[in-house]
């Protein structure tokens, strides 16, 4: 697997405990629309992603992230910057 594929797989794993609807997870899956997450779930999930990858995803960045693919891209970028 490439680094990005590994990150995607890890993000998928982190989504699962919050994926109460059992929605299928693809690059295009949206957090608000497809997963129907509210702000409280987003907070818990973002904290788990931050701790898994040892990064910070500021609320400013979170506002720009709508899909799983965008989150994976952001994680990749943050890891490379760090």
């Amino acid at each position: 697997m490439t680094d990005r594929e590994e990150t995607f797989a890890k993000v998928q794993q982190l989504i699962e405990p919050f994926n109460k609807k059992g929605a299928p997870l693809t690059e295009a899956t949206t957090f608000a629309g497809d997963l129907e997450w509210d702000s409280l779930i987003v907070m818990d999930f973002v904290a788990s992603v931050e701790d898994e990858f040892d990064i910070l995803i500021t609320m400013n960045m979170q506002a720009e992230i709508e899909t799983v693919g965008q989150l994976v891209d952001a994680v990749e970028q943050l890891r490379n910057d760090g």
Binding site: D38, S39, L40, M43, V46, A47, E50, D51, D54, I55, L56, T58, M59, N60, G82
Partner: protein, 421 residues
């Protein structure tokens, strides 16, 4: 828009309510409107539409013609009807008029605004005090002004809306940590880039659950990582610490906190907000802080009542002791009855009763009101973790006998609604 004969606001013309073309901007609220209608259709009273027809004292009001014990105000120290406070307000109204009609930085600073800032400096033992028109604006102003685009604000996930809104108004990078977790705060501080300023935002008492922050540990961690620290003491002022300054005083970290934010609308008993600080450049905020500059200052009567109240709170040891006694007794009593509470012990003057869902919460709220006690109902998104709760806040003016009656009413309401078996 040319049919001037019919205005869209004409209440007689019901057909004019919805626009005939284009998307109604209110459609985004449809789900909330439907949820609310469904709830009210079950026959319960609207918990967010209560009117106090008369207010008899800090602890009593008339609601729908019935004298009701108030257990859902922020009037912790019962200062709203203090004779000295009321007299100061009346005198200021006579001598300075009803309002200032101006910004603090132009024509809106009267002698009374100076005096209330002097009273705050004495109360907190700080070099500077800046009074805003509300507590909300104090947070809005501080967060949005002192942290710029390159800076980081690190805040507790359960922070008050005014803190979040202050962050949204400004340009700083916003990082959240898990509520009251010292480890989570430290992990995030460690991940911050070396460049950029850091502001850690904490609250002494979190108002939904009434839990307090581990400020000793949190402030230590924040300082070790080079951050400035602001503590919001909205719900702690008046009865925590030797001088009643707040949880930060009780935690022994007063010398390490850079800013304390507070409000006049709780223990002080009127309305207004403030920031106190010892920072040598603090006064510049009066020129650059938009929520301070671009709004009218508080009316003279309000600052006069606030100054008098703050000075009295400096010597309110007996009231503090009684407030704590009331809080501990209510907490213990509710626990003994079998209610589930948000904290294991009474940590503040807020006691939050956890309930399973909205319907049960509203029924319990209404049963209490009909028995003769008013409490706050709180629901998501104001509450953390999707909780429904009835929030009780005590007052130093509640008598021991009143607390006993409140417990009786909780028992009756709990059994009537099935919350207690």
């Amino acid at each position: 828009m040319t049919e001037a004969a019919r205005t869209p606001m004409d209440p007689a013309d019901e057909t004019a309510v919805a626009p005939s073309h284009g998307r109604d901007l209110f459609s985004k609220f449809d789900a909330l409107i439907a949820e609310r209608e469904a709830l009210l259709d079950t026959g319960v009273r609207d918990p967010f539409g209560l009117v106090m027809e008369r207010v008899l004292s800090p602890t009593r009001a008339v609601v729908k013609g019935k004298e009701t014990i108030l257990l859902g105000t922020y009037n912790y120290m019962g200062m709203t009807f203090d004779p000295d406070v009321v007299a100061a307000g009346k005198q200021a109204l006579d001598e300075f008029g009803a309002g200032t009609t101006g910004s603090r930085v132009l024509n809106g600073t009267y002698q009374g605004h100076r005096e209330v800032e002097e009273a705050l400096k004495e109360f907190y033992g700080t070099a500077h005090a800046m009074v805003f028109s509300t507590g909300y604006q104090a947070n809005l102003g501080l967060m949005s002004t002192i942290a710029g685009k390159e800076d980081y604000i690190i805040l507790d996930a359960d922070s008050h809306a005014s803190i979040y809104d202050g962050c949204a108004l400004g340009n700083a990078q916003i990082v959240r940590f898990r509520h009251n977790s010292v480890e989570d705060l430290e992990r995030r501080l460690k991940r911050l880039p070396a460049e950029g300023g850091r502001l850690v935002v904490l609250e002494g008492v979190y108002s939904m659950l009434g839990d307090i922050a581990p400020l000793k540990e949190m402030v230590e961690v924040a300082k070790r990582h080079g951050a400035m620290v602001v503590v919001d003491e909205a719900h702690g002022m008046g009865f925590f610490g030797e001088h009643g300054r707040g949880v930060f005083e009780q935690a022994g970290v007063a010398d390490q906190v850079d800013f304390v934010v507070g409000t006049f609308s709780k223990s002080v008993g009127t309305v207004g907000g403030f920031v106190v600080s010892n920072h040598p450049k603090f006064e510049v905020l009066r020129l650059v802080c938009r929520p301070y500059v671009f709004t009218a200052s508080l009316p003279p009567s309000v600052v006069a009542t606030a100054a008098t109240s703050i000075r009295k709170l400096m010597h309110a040891g007996d009231k503090r002791a009684h407030l704590w006694e009331n809080s501990r007794r209510l907490h213990q009593g509710l626990r003994d009855l079998g209610f589930t509470l948000a904290t294991a012990e009474a940590e503040s003057a807020i006691i939050a009763v956890l309930l399973p869902d909205q319907q049960t919460t509203v029924m319990m709220w209404q049963a209490l009101l009909e028995a003769g006690v008013y409490v706050n109902m709180a629901r998501p998104p104001a509450t953390p973790a999707g909780m429904y709760l009835l929030r009780c806040s005590l007052c130093a003016e509640h008598s021991s006998e009143e607390v006993g009656r409140i417990l009786e009413m909780f028992e009756v309401a709990g059994r009537a609604t099935g919350v207690l078996s």
